[in-house]
């Protein structure tokens, strides 16, 4: 089998060219001004200092807040759904999980676009409210619309890992807890929930990561003025043309997310080792 060691070489070269170098370029851009023209290159930390300006800082806090709200809603809805699904027969579970995954395969853009026709001022929900005698509620271009879009997009990412963890739980543990006198709540809290924590952590990471870096959903459902981190980055690269500042924000975003993931992974590993 020694013959096959060489097979990995093309990818190593490819990975350096298309994964490592782009990251280094982002780092380079984030600490310089004046493009990548080597003659005019100037090192500076101004790009990072700019992030601390109130307008940009508010974008970060808003993204963070929306991310947390989305994660909490997804966790509550998703845990319940995953728990209920895990109580069905294996065959029914497969079908239900397939139904949860199908939306994941459908283009986010198309699904977000679909929400516009439901939420807009003369959209389906408001038309129905009017028919029932209520006033129209403006929903488009609000936090509410963005959160609906995010939750419907990200809920499967919460349900699947939690369901996987719940399925792995040995039923005899739950029976044992019940036999030993724990009531249903305590059995759930101390046994089922505790054993499903790896799935919960995975779900939280995925939904938080995706919600904090999205720019399509806020742009379509929140309107052109709606700014989250993703939109700010897009703005810097596409309309403003300040690639250096854009790179600094991206670098910060990537760092926060990569650190969060590795911390969660470590906690997860320690958790499994303990058992």
């Amino acid at each position: 089998m020694r013959h096959f060691t060489k097979l990995a070489r093309p990818y190593i070269i490819w990975a350096v060219a298309i994964i490592i170098i782009p990251l280094l370029l982002i780092v380079l851009y984030s600490v310089t001004t004046g493009g990548n023209d080597l003659v005019n290159i100037q090192f500076t930390l101004d790009n990072f200092k700019k992030i601390a300006e109130p307008i940009y800082l508010s974008v970060f806090t808003k993204s963070f807040r929306l991310g947390v709200i989305t994660v909490v809603i997804c966790l509550l809805l998703g845990y319940t759904l995953a728990y209920i699904i895990s109580k069905f027969s294996e065959k029914a579970q497969n079908i239900l999980i397939l139904l949860v995954t199908i939306p994941m395969w459908i283009n986010t853009l198309l699904r977000t676009y679909a929400w516009i026709s439901l939420l807009s001022d003369n959209g389906i929900i408001n038309t129905m409210l009017n028919k029932l005698g209520f006033d129209s509620v403006p929903m488009m271009y609000t936090d509410f619309a963005v959160i609906i879009g995010l939750v419907s997009d990200l809920l499967p990412f919460m349900v699947i890992p939690i369901h996987t963890s719940l399925c792995k739980i040995d039923n005899s543990l739950i029976e044992a807890a019940m036999d030993l006198g724990a009531d249903r709540f305590h059995t759930f809290w101390k046994v089922t929930f505790k054993l499903s924590i790896p799935g919960v952590l995975n779900g939280i990471i995925m939904t938080f990561l995706l919600s904090i870096s999205t720019f399509v959903i806020p742009k379509l459902l929140g309107g052109g003025q709606y700014m989250l981190i993703g939109n700010l980055i897009e703005n810097q690269f596409i309309s403003v043309g300040d690639w250096n500042f854009g790179s600094a924000i991206s670098l910060l975003l990537a760092a926060v997310i990569l650190i969060a993931i590795s911390l969660m992974k470590r906690a997860d590993r320690e958790d499994t080792e303990e058992e």
Partner: protein
């Protein structure tokens, strides 16, 4: 008490699935509307589908999405599978390093990967368009192939290839006749993941494309500024294709298995 719980379960699941599927169903429904309204259904017509087919820009976007997805999947599957096989035979330090690098595009937010590639392509003065989009898609699909194939490679008996070669197979034959068939499941998972990731992608394509080359996601993004039932028609077709593919992927392997089992039973009986 039990009965109450069951009723609650069914209601809850129904509500969740309504939440998932109502937007999709509404989109599909209004693609058959004869007027431009997305709220009042004034009659059945296929006029938006006619408009869709006669629109050059949309058909071109479909062509771009499909061909990029096919080429990227082929390239990513070959590159990823070979890498996974090669990697398992490398020293641990190289293995860990490559696998960690491989994880970067998976964990990194799409938008960061996208701007990294955008800066890369413009730094080497590559003209943005179809080729840059294809390269970017290969870049983000390959890691998924590696992560689906590599665990299967690790489960292989390391002596398999040696046995094949001792029996006179060339290394190439050992690879294609012995190793690859054993990795089938992982490779299929990689193909499915790559194809759908590529076909679905918006963020990365949006940043690395240029010269008017658009895929389906980009054209939808540019068209959503006004209501346009042609998008509904396009959505309906895309959704149908995806759902049919998923159902086939989920049922065909079981059918094939049952069939080959029946065949085997037959041959045993003979």
């Amino acid at each position: 008490m039990k009965k109450k719980g069951k009723a609650f379960s069914i209601v809850y699941i129904t509500i969740c699935f309504l939440f998932f599927y109502i937007p999709i169903v509404v989109t599909m429904f209004f693609s058959f509307n004869s007027s431009k309204s997305l709220t009042k259904f004034s009659g059945f017509s296929l006029k938006w589908y006619e408009e869709l087919i006669s629109s050059n820009s949309i058909m071109e976007a479909v062509y771009v999405s499909v061909t990029v997805a096919i080429f990227a999947t082929i390239a990513a599957t070959i590159l990823g599978t070979l890498t996974a096989i090669g990697l398992s035979k490398n020293r641990k330090i190289i293995k860990d390093l490559v696998l960690n690098i491989n994880n970067i595009p998976i964990m990194n937010p799409d938008i960061v990967t996208a701007i990294g590639l955008m800066i890369l392509f413009s730094s080497i003065k590559m003209e943005k368009g179809y080729l840059t989009m294809l390269l970017a898609h290969i870049a983000f699909c390959t890691p998924y192939v590696i992560t689906s194939v590599y665990p299967k490679v690790r489960n292989l008996d390391p002596n398999l290839a040696n046995a094949a070669m001792d029996l006179g197979a060339t290394p190439f034959q050992a690879l294609t006749k012995v190793i690859l068939p054993m990795l089938k499941e992982g490779i299929y998972a990689g193909i499915l993941l790559s194809f759908t990731m590529s076909f679905d992608d918006f963020v990365i394509s949006y940043f690395v494309t240029g010269n008017g080359v658009q895929n389906i996601s980009i054209i939808v993004y540019n068209m959503t500024k006004r209501t346009n039932p042609t998008i509904n028609a396009l959505s309906t077709l895309v959704i149908l294709v995806i759902i049919i593919t998923l159902i086939l992927v989920n049922t065909v392997p079981a059918l094939v298995k049952r069939r080959s089992k029946r065949k085997m039973d037959k041959s045993l009986n003979n």
